[in-house]
Structure formats: C-alpha cells, structure tokens
Subunit: 287 residues, 6 copies
C-alpha cells in the first residue's frame, strides 16, 4: 500500500481542513506569526505505534521539521517521546488535534492487531489475522494501513480487488455452483474468487466449483473442525484457503485459530477501535 508522500499529503490536508473551518481564531489572535517552538508527541500508554509516516508527511507538507524517535510498528511505553517537532507555533497549534487523532486511531488499530497476532504466535499457530471492510467510513486507507503495521492482513482494499460472493449475492442468484462457475469464466484472471458459506454443503459445492477462498461465516470452532475433516477427505484441504469469520473476539480467537483455517478475520479491530492516548506538548520557544 505504498503511496507517494505528495498523494498521501492531499488526504491528510483534507482531514486538517475540515477541523480548521475558516481558521484557528484562538491561535490567530494569541500567538505571533514569528513564534517558533519545539514540541513533542508523547505516548500516554503502551502499545504499537502507527501513523508516524502520516505525521511526518503532514508536518513536512506544512513546512514543519520532524525528528521521529520511533518507527511505525515499534512497541512504545507510557511517557515515551515519539516525535519531536520544530517550527512555526501557529501551525503546530492548528494541526495538533488532527495529528493526534490520526496517530491515536492508527495506533489503537495496530495495537489490538498486534496483540491478537502475538497471542496466536505464542500458541505456535500459523494463521493470518485479517480485518474486514468494516472500518470507520472513509478511512479505509488509514485503517487498513494500521492493520498492516500491526502485522495483520488487509483483506479487500475495495470492491474491485477480489471477487467476494457474499450471502446477499447468493440470496439473489440462488445457485452457488452456477455463480462460481460463471465468475470463473467471466472474471479477470488476475483476481481470486472467494465465497461466503454458511454450512458444510455449501463449502463442498464451492470447493468443487473451484473457489480460491472459502469464508466459513459464523461457524463455531467445532463446526470448522468438522468441515476441515470432510475437506481433507475430499482432497480439497490445502488447495483452497479457508477464512473463519463471524463471532471471533479477542477472547476466543485461539479457538478459531487452532482449527486449521488459514485466516481468521475480525471486524472489531477496525470498527470498534480503542484509541491509543497520545499528547502533544510545547517544550519551549526556540526564537
């Protein structure tokens, strides 16, 4: 998900613009335009930091100097200084909240993603942890990138990069087998085909029809294991990717991860984010 800085900068300045309105009236009246300061962004709690790249890009685009002390993905501790900022005080005070909102949301996502993956690694299980398209509306780029930084899998980036036949598609077209065969014929060779299934019968039909990935939606760990047993018997296991989805939480994730699936996916890591607390502090005037 590499984006040239100058393109990313446009996304970031749009976020800033909404927050400013017609101008920061407090700063405009109170702070002289010649004042320069040194400021620090400081963590208030432990976690995995994300949004440093975005912070640097936004600061630089506003002609502020940055001196990052951490990199995205790094483990941080409470009171740790993350980044020093030098430059025009008016600009720093005006961009403060937008910056912190970006870092705290992205770090919140990276932190929970990392924790889940660590739990799985500690249990010696090899399974990918993926997010879904259930993000804050409009923040797909930032939310997906934070998942990546936390070690997770971004899943679909939007509706054009994976064929994913969901329950609502099937509710309309009816026949799973026909749907998959049809899509294998008509879709681009460059895309994988995934299908959402709700029982073993559909899993088998989808396997036979040639799906690349099968989502086991709202299957219990036990049901997943039974399904895998049958898939092994039929010779499909290992040839098709299996994604467990639905009902997976930070508490029960190992139960799902240990079933033999390739991927477990959770929406909570991007749509129920607990922000990581970070602060900006003016350290001193530098002129």
């Amino acid at each position: 998900m590499f984006l040239p800085k100058q393109i990313l900068e446009k996304k970031l300045q749009l976020l800033l613009t909404e927050d400013i309105g017609q101008g920061d009236i407090t700063t405009g009246l109170l702070i002289s335009e010649k004042t320069k300061v040194e400021a620090e962004i400081i963590a208030k709690e432990a976690g995995i930091i994300a949004g440093i790249e975005e912070t640097k890009t936004l600061l630089n685009s506003l002609n502020l100097q940055d001196e990052p002390l951490v990199v995205d993905g790094e483990k941080i501790q409470p009171q740790q200084i993350l980044l020093k900022i030098y430059g025009n005080a008016q600009v720093i005070l005006t961009v403060e909240r937008t910056l912190l909102n970006i870092i705290s949301r992205m770090s919140g996502i990276a932190t929970i993603t990392y924790k889940l993956i660590k739990k799985i690694k500690d249990a010696k299980i090899k399974v990918k942890v993926a997010c879904t398209r259930k993000t804050a509306p409009g923040l797909l780029y930032f939310d997906k990138k934070a998942v990546l930084i936390g070690g997770g899998d971004t899943h679909r980036l939007h509706l054009d990069d994976l064929i994913l036949i969901k329950d609502n598609h099937i509710a309309i077209v009816g026949d799973i087998k026909k749907a998959i065969l049809n899509l294998k014929e008509k879709s681009s060779f460059s895309k994988k085909i995934e299908i959402e299934t709700s029982d073993i019968k559909d899993v088998l039909t989808s396997s036979e029809a040639g799906a690349d990935i099968i989502m086991l939606d709202n299957f219990s760990p036990k049901q997943i294991k039974q399904t895998i047993k049958i898939l092994k018997k039929e010779g499909f296991y290992g040839k098709i990717l299996l994604e467990a989805s639905g009902g997976i939480t930070t508490k029960n994730i190992l139960d799902f991860a240990s079933t033999g699936v390739d991927i477990v996916s959770l929406s909570a890591i991007t749509n129920s984010v607990k922000s990581l607390d970070v602060n900006l502090e003016i350290i001193k005037r530098t002129n």
Copy 2:
C-alpha cells in the same frame, strides 16, 4: 447542525467512492442490472439508533427507495428492523457496507452518549455531557451529529467557533490574565472565550479576567469541589460556565457530574467508539 440533503449527499458519496474503487466487480458480473429487490437493515444489538438521516439521504441520492421504521435517537432492540430498502440490487449490494459503517459508528456514539446522560439524569443531576474534537480524523460532522442525537453537547465544531485557550497556548504566551484580556479586546463579540486551567490559582485569575467558560483539566472531583467553594466565595460561581475534563470515564462520571460543574466532557465517546452491530439482508426479489 442542519445541512441540506444535497450537501450532505456529497459527503456521503465521497465515502462510498473510496470503498468502491473502479467498481464492484463481484456485483457487476453476478447480478443483472435489471434485478430489483427488497432489503432490510436489521439491528443485531440494543442501543440508540443514529445515521438514519444519512442512510435515507445516501439511498435517495442513488435512486433507491427507503422506508424507515425508526427515527434517529430512538431506542432499538436486537433483531429490530430499522429500515426497508427497495430498488436496484446492484446498487444496494454496492452501497451496503458504506451504509452499515455509517450507521454502526454513529449509533455506537449515540448509544454511549445516551447511556452517560441517562446515568446522570437518573441521579437527578443537571449537567451537560459534551464530546471533544477527539474524533475519527475527518469524521467531525458525523461524530458530532451522533453525539447530538445521543443527547450530548457538540462542543467546538471546528477551530473557528469558540476561543479556547489550551495549555499549549499558555505554554507559549505565559500570562493567563494578559491572554484573556487581550482576547476579550480583539476577538469577535460573537464568540465565547474558554480557558483550560490546571489549578485553582489559574481558575481565579481566569475568572477575574473575564473568561466565559473555564475548563478544569484533570481536576479530581475533590479538587473541583474545592475550586467551586472558592468560586462561590469570590462571587464567580453561576456567572462562569465550568467544564470538567480529563480522566472522566463511564464509570466515574457521576463523581464528576455531581460536583457542581456545568459540563463534563469526554473524548472516549468519539475516539474509542464501540460500533453498534447492524446488518443488511436481502429479503426478496421484487421483479
């Protein structure tokens, strides 16, 4: 925060556009352009619903018919049908996720806001519950509106609608009294002036200088009570609005709310949102 539908529609279509990319490849290949369906948006858990206005606006802007069964701010139950949708199946399947992301975030915010306010009302306390500018980046409009629906106070809408002297302003200008007097002279008569304070001394100085609102930042309930006692003695209490902020959680909110302040403000209701779970289900083909 009234916005004509056609202006709101532009915000909403931007959110949708990011999610679609170059087009929904699954729906484009699988569903005929003539297929019409009836669908329902269904709650999966209880809470206070928000985002219905946004949903209607987005649906209508895409030429889909809506039949809302609830209004924003209404209490909803699990399995309750919130809204019926009629129209082109391709469009419904393409907009599904964006719609649900909006409703689930806004309802999550409205629900927690409502719960906090109910707690306070049940305790027979009269105090406003406000959010801050700590929202998801770029989602100020949606997050603030959800707070409003939950019964909360929107606080500043952006940096141009209230003079708010924060700790970082004071770190630069130094003298609180001079700052307030200066702003009272130079700022527009149409704005209130608020100042963030960290001890009783600053509260008194700010009161004397003529601030309209004083934020007691990270004061304990005990410190707040002491402060109020002094303000009463000095004759300021009742003439200046007092906002308690910092360290307030859903658990300890009553301790703060009962101190005699006018407003308690929390960032968690907009920056650590637990989404309300909602679903879209295709009910049947209608042609």
Copy 3:
C-alpha cells in the same frame, strides 16, 4: 482566523485556475520560459493595504520570490511600492491579474473598515464595527479577513458558530421567549445566542429570556436610545451585548455609534466594495 499557508494556498490556486482556463496563450507564445524578471506591485491610491499575506502565499506556492515592503493593515500612499517580485516571467504575467484582484478587493474592504473605525475613535466612542455575512458569494474567508485587518469585527464566520435567531426564524416559530429558552436548553454551551429584534417589546422579552446578544434591527438612533434607557431601568444594560444593524452608512455611523450600543454592523463594507487601485509593473529582466 489563522490558516496554515498550505491550506490557504489551495484556495488561492483555485482562484488562479479559473482565470487561466487551458493556459495563458499570449504569454506562452510570446515570452521565453527562461526569462526572469523583477516586478513591483504599486499602489495607485491611498488606503489600508490587505492581501499581502495572500499575495506572498500565492507567489511562494508558484516558486516566485517576494520582498514585501508593507505589512497587512499598514497605511499606504499613491505610488508606494508594496511588494517586489522576482522570478519566472511567464508565471508572473499569468498570475498578475488574480493577485491584483485579491489585493484590490481586500484593501478596499480594509480601507473603508478602517475609516469607519477611525471616525468612531476620533469621536472618542468605544464601539465595535462589525461586518455581516453579506459578502461576495464564496469569498467569506477573504472578505472577513480584510475586515479584521481594517480593525473590524468578523461577526459570524458561517452558520455554525453563533446561534442567531433572525426575523425569518421568528416568522415561523412565533414566540420569541419560547425560542430563546428552547435554544438555551438545546444549544451547545460553547455558543452565544443572538436575536434580531424589531421593537422594544421584543428587546425586553429577549433580555428576560436570557439572550447573550440583541440585534436592534432598523432602529433609529433615537429608538436605540429609548431602548437603552429602558434596559438600564430593567437592569439588563451592560449584561447583554447590543448590536445596531440596518440603515447604518458611512455618513450616519456616529449617530448610531454614540447611542450606547456595543456593536454597529454594516453590510456595505463587504458587499459594496470599492476596490483599491493597485498595479503590477515589470521593472527589468534579471537574466
């Protein structure tokens, strides 16, 4: 109304883009791309200069060097050189008209604002001079900022930063008292409440109901004085801000300003602007 340069730059480049169309065909064919020149912006008449910040920002964003000889708000004389520009001749010739249009409009606004305020100060009256939202459409930022530079009060920056109950609101809701009480209950603590009134009765009702600001709309100076006499008697004077509005001109402004109101507001300073005449002259080639 502080805006980071990079955000202001976007507004300015939009104005430039409209003027250019597909490209400056005269300059493209006539001037070599390597030609560098020195140019000057020169005042053709006396006044208060504004738009220097905007000019510097636009010039810098186009990679032109500026050497300002005046600052915004300064008194200037005919033939005074305001700013020197160095750089690519094609760019200077292409941006010339947009730059001059910005300076001449903003300076026209600052000049008349300053004159009105000087008249008031010379008469030893202490009253604020405010503009309204009657600006050139789409130029709120520039018009309001020019008023500020001239020493005036910006009043509302847009429809979200002050509760202002206008005659047309009252025409619908009817009851003034109920309207104010309702808004005091429901509006954010961070906003003031102003109401437009047309007679003494409404002024008193509004004062009792708790309005922060009362606009005396189309009151004659005599009526204003009578109103103030009553407000004094009732104990409201000094506690509520009074804004005289309607029918105020550069000629009669002292009659209104001397009545005892806190603010006089005029729409003419932003919607009937006499541009200040300024020119750009190429001084010499520098390569």
Copy 4:
C-alpha cells in the same frame, strides 16, 4: 456563456457550502424538519435584475420550488416581488444568505452596466461597453454573466481565449512589431490578436503589423480623436477594432464613447460593485 444547469449547480453549491460550515445550528435546533413555507425575494431598490437563473438553479438543486416573477435583465422597482419560493423551511433559511448575495452582486453589476449603455444609446452613439478581467477573485463566471445581462460585452473569459499583448509583455519583449508578427505566425487562426498601446506611434506600428484590435490605454478623448484622424488617413480605421480603456468613469464615459472607438471598457463595473438591495421574507407556513 451557456452552462447546463447541473454544471452551474456545482458552482452554486460550493458557494453555499462555504457559508454553512458544519451546519446551520440555529435552524437545526429551532425549525422542525417538516415545516414547509412560502417565501418571497423582494427588491429594496430599483435596478436591472440578474441572478434569477442562478437562483432557480440553486433552489431546484435543493428540491425547493421556485416561481419567478421576473426574468434576468428586467427592470425592477423597489418592493417588487422577484420570485416566490415554496418548500422546506430549514433549507430556505439555510440558503437565504447565499442566494441573496448572488442576486445582489449580479444585479449590482447588471444595473450599472445597463445605465452606462443607456447613456450611450440615449446619446445616439454606437459603441460597445465592455468589462475587464478585474472581477472579484474567483467570480469570473458570475461577474461576466451579469455584464452580459446588463447588455455589456464580456471581453476575455480567461487567459486562453484572446491573444492580448499587455504593457508588461512589451516591457519584456520590447519590439511591438516583432511581437505581433510573431503571434500572427504562431497563434491559432481561431483567436484574435489585441495589443495595448500607450501612444500614437505604437498604434500605427500595431496597425501595420496586423493586430485585430488595438487598446488605447489611458488615452484622453482628445488623444483618441487625434489617433483616429491619423488611422483614417492611413486607411486603417474601420478595419481594426479600437478599444478605449483606462480612466473611464460613469461620468466621463460619453466623452470617450463619442470619439469614434468601437469599444469602451471599464473595470469599475465588476471590481467596485454596489450591491442591489434584495430581501427574502417568509410569507407563511404552508403545512
């Protein structure tokens, strides 16, 4: 300058969006979303109306019904009802100021343009009255269209639709003759070539070199007459268009218009606009 409504609508909604900010907080809290009203736009002074097309387009784009009682270019009287509006009260109150700002500026421009042209017609002179590119920044479309409605000539719409060699171009390239010959060779056959001249010598050189239009910049009426005498002698008069520009005011326009030039151009009609006073009044609730 025909623009499809749906394209014009985008320009208009941008103007509205700036004025609204995050939403009309007064209207949102005070007026019920179901309230429907009838409103009228009423002239407060006499003049030539413009902006009716823009008003209709913006109203319709917001789903409001319009009933125009005048057309653009019509003479109007004080207290004349210009347009009736029916529909949602919240929307009408929110769009009121933007609408009036558009009508009052455009009508101000159309009115002064019309008056100048009438003066010329009454004197039985046949000469075109043109505006320049000295408009409010960013309002080229609206200002030029208002000139057209007032009967004037729009001159260049932007920098790509006429070759216009200005004094600053000549300051760089030096040789007028070479410049014109060069441009006749290299410019598109679809464009005319105009040159700004400051003395008779340049006028003759330009005529000989083949300019289509010659601007007599800051020539007195007497100088213009002498110039025309010489052009007649040399056989150029009638073959080249002559534009008098600079120093022309509403007072002295006949002196210039009667010299024999084809066009007189003034910047004041678009950059020193006196707004025409118009009001919007809520007439009654309709539900």
Copy 5:
C-alpha cells in the same frame, strides 16, 4: 466493474466541464433556452458499440431523455441509429462533443478487442485476451470497461489489486525466488502474485517459488512452446496461469494464442485506439 450511476455521473460531468470552459458561447447566443429537439446518435462505420451506459447516464444527469436502440457490446452497422435523445436544445448542443468522444473511444476499444477474440474463437483456441495498464492517462475506468464490453480481460485495475513483480522490481531486488517467497509471506491472502519473466530459468524459479501467474515477456511463440514443454515436464503446467505479453499484434495474435498460454495481453487495444466514427444529428424541433 459496477459503478452506481450517480458516481459514474460525477466522472462524466468532469469530462464535460473541461470541454465547456466558462460556457458554450455559440449556443448561449444562438439558441433559445426554450427550444426542445429530437436528436439521434448515428454510427458512421461498423463495429462493436460501447459507451451507451455512459451516454445514458450523462444524458439523464443533464435532464435529457434517452431512447437507446442498441446495448453495449452489440454489433452495429454504418448509418445505424444508436440512440435517440429528446430535450433542451442548448444542453444537447453543449454536451454533443463530449458524448461522441466517449462513445467513439470506447467503441474503438471494444471493436478491436472483439475482433481479436473472434479470431481466436474462430481458430477454436481457448485463451483470454487481456489489456494492460497502458491506457490513455486518466481514462483507466473507461478504457478497461470498453475492453470488458469487447469480451476482453481487464487485468489489473490499479496498483493495489494484484501483486505484479515487473522487470524493474527485479532489477532492484535481484533474487526472483526470494522476492516471491517474501511476497507470499507478507502479501494479503486475497491477492494473486504474478511475475514478469524473460527466460525459461526465471519461469522455473518462479513456478517453484509459488507464483500464481507467470508473464512470459517478449517470448517468441517458439520460446513459449519450449517453456510450456518444460513446465509440463516439471508438473507446473495447468497449475500456474501463463500470460504471453510483448510483441503481440492483431496480425500475429494466433501464433501466440495457440501456444498453450492462458492469456495473451496487448497494450495496443487501449493505447493506440482507432476511434469508431459516430455522429449526432438534430432531427427536428419538438416544440
């Protein structure tokens, strides 16, 4: 690649806006705003039609009625009427060229794509014909959709929907095997991995490392056959998709298509488009 009409409409109106500039001056002055006409879009040559959906969407968005007589993908003949248009004459004349430019480019692409595929089908070969990202800059959506209508494969829609390791990536990272293994570990499970190869050795290494698709870049048909022979021997043939690319023309396409590859891709169908000639004719006034 399904896009809701209202999103597509925005792309289309942007194209129109560039063409119009400040307005259609001919139509504005010549045609009355009340004139309504019937018009027809007529083919001037045979081919496969594309752009009908875009035409309908743009017409409807401008409030014009359409009556399409063909559907996208249909074979058309010279002089065949493709679509009837009813409505405002000014709008039809203003949008004419933009509409025709869209149809003629998209149909040009669909026609050549169809011809190539027909040639392959007639030869009883089963191979996909794909385009590349070599489109007209900025027209990815339209060019890819036209390929789809012609029966072709869209390949990557942008840089985020397929891992494609190109020669320039390898020039930097060096080791093909390591690159693929690395990407299989780190990339999302939802994406396929393709690699561009230039000799048999690289093909084998890539096959062993687990690439999903191998591009045989600038291989002659003979080289491709040899490669396939080896892949069969090694047991990879049939498990990995093979894409022949480079040097493929409309003349030699069968030589490549008959080698046993899964896909042949050509850039010429989108970057060297011969437009299909279509016309718009006003048939009659309808009022």
Copy 6:
C-alpha cells in the same frame, strides 16, 4: 497554453492517483523505502517527443530529480535516452506507468502532426494543420498541447473561445444569414465567428454576412477549388479564413492543402492516436 507548473502538477497528480488506488502493493512490500535508484526513459521507436515538460513537472512534484536529454518537439531515434531520473525507488516504480502513458500519447500526437506538416512544407504549400475537439475525453489540455508541439494549430480550446456555428445549430435556427448577423451584434468583440458550411451557396451567404472563418465541411478538393474561384470573383477570398474539414486523411492531405484554403483540420490526430513506444528502465541503485 502556458500553465504554471503548480497548476499542471495538480492535473498530473490526479491522473496518477487514479492509477494507484489505495497504494502500490507490490512496491510497498518488495522495495525498501530507503532505496534510491537511477532510471532512464528510453524511446523504442523514432518520432517527435512530447510530454517532457509534463514528465519533469510530475517528477519534481514527487521530489524526484530529472535530467532531460531532449526537449519537447525534438526528433528522437529508437533506443535514444530521453530523460534520466534519480531518486526514491518506490516513487519511481509507482509513477512509471502514468509517466509513460502521458509521454507515449502526447508523442504519438506530436509525431503524426509533425509528419503531416512536413509533407505540406515539403510540397511548398503554406497552410495550417489544425486538430479539432475530437480528443480523448478529458484530455483536451494534453492533446491540444501535443498538437502545438508537433507544429499544429490547436483550434478551439473549449466552447467559450470561438463562436462556431455548426450544422446542428443551423438545423435549429434555419437562416444562416440571420444567425451570423445576430451573432456579430451580440457576441463579444474579442471572439471570431466561424461557420460550418456544406455548399457554395452557404459559403457565399456567410461571406456576405461577415463571418471571420468559413469551414468547408466535407467538400472534395474539387469543390473547394470551385468555391475559391467564386470567392475570388466576389472579392471575399483573402479576407475570410477558409478551413477544409472532413474526409481529410494522412494520404490525401496534400490534395486538400493545395486547394488554396488557409487551414486543413483532422480529427484523427487526436482521436485515433498511435502511441509512441517508450520504456522506463532502472539502471542502478545509487545508495
């Protein structure tokens, strides 16, 4: 058609943004952010180069260094190095395709334009070669600029810079003479008036009515010569510009060019472009 770099940069970055989507996933995972490289853009075939200015502008806007070895309009040979690029490898790989698409399209247009003009010059004929508005949709700026680089005439840049009465206008208004007289009266003095004609009668009527330019649409070379004979007899030849249009190809262009017309115009040079083949090659790592 001079456009300041910073305005052109915005057009270019929009083209890039469409191609990237949410980010270049291959480059992001494979190439380290610290890698710097030297790259070259190399011609694969002979022609006239165009797009170098655009390439430099886009590269610089992304903070990449460029070292152009050719200038726009220069004749290039196969294998010739056109431009060297130095800088961040991730950015170069991400922008590669957009850059090449721009150069190859613009150079294709410049090359065919140049060839046609050379043919005419070699035949010692003095006639302009113009393009039309039949460009790739949305690429007017780039296509017109490429024509200019090839030595051609850009014709109308959009619908606001020349009065051009087309067959469809006449189909509605009927009377050619009236149309021209009407437009001469009402249109701006700054615009020329052109009319599309289909027979000698219309040509004469248009000449008498005072058109500046007459388009001879779909006249054979023989018909054109007859028309010119008559125009000479009537004294119009040499006073009105004549544009031959319709049915002109690279093969028969001399037949039209030698008839005595001033301009021949062809749509094929912009709407049926054969791209010039260019490549980007990574030469070496530089760090």
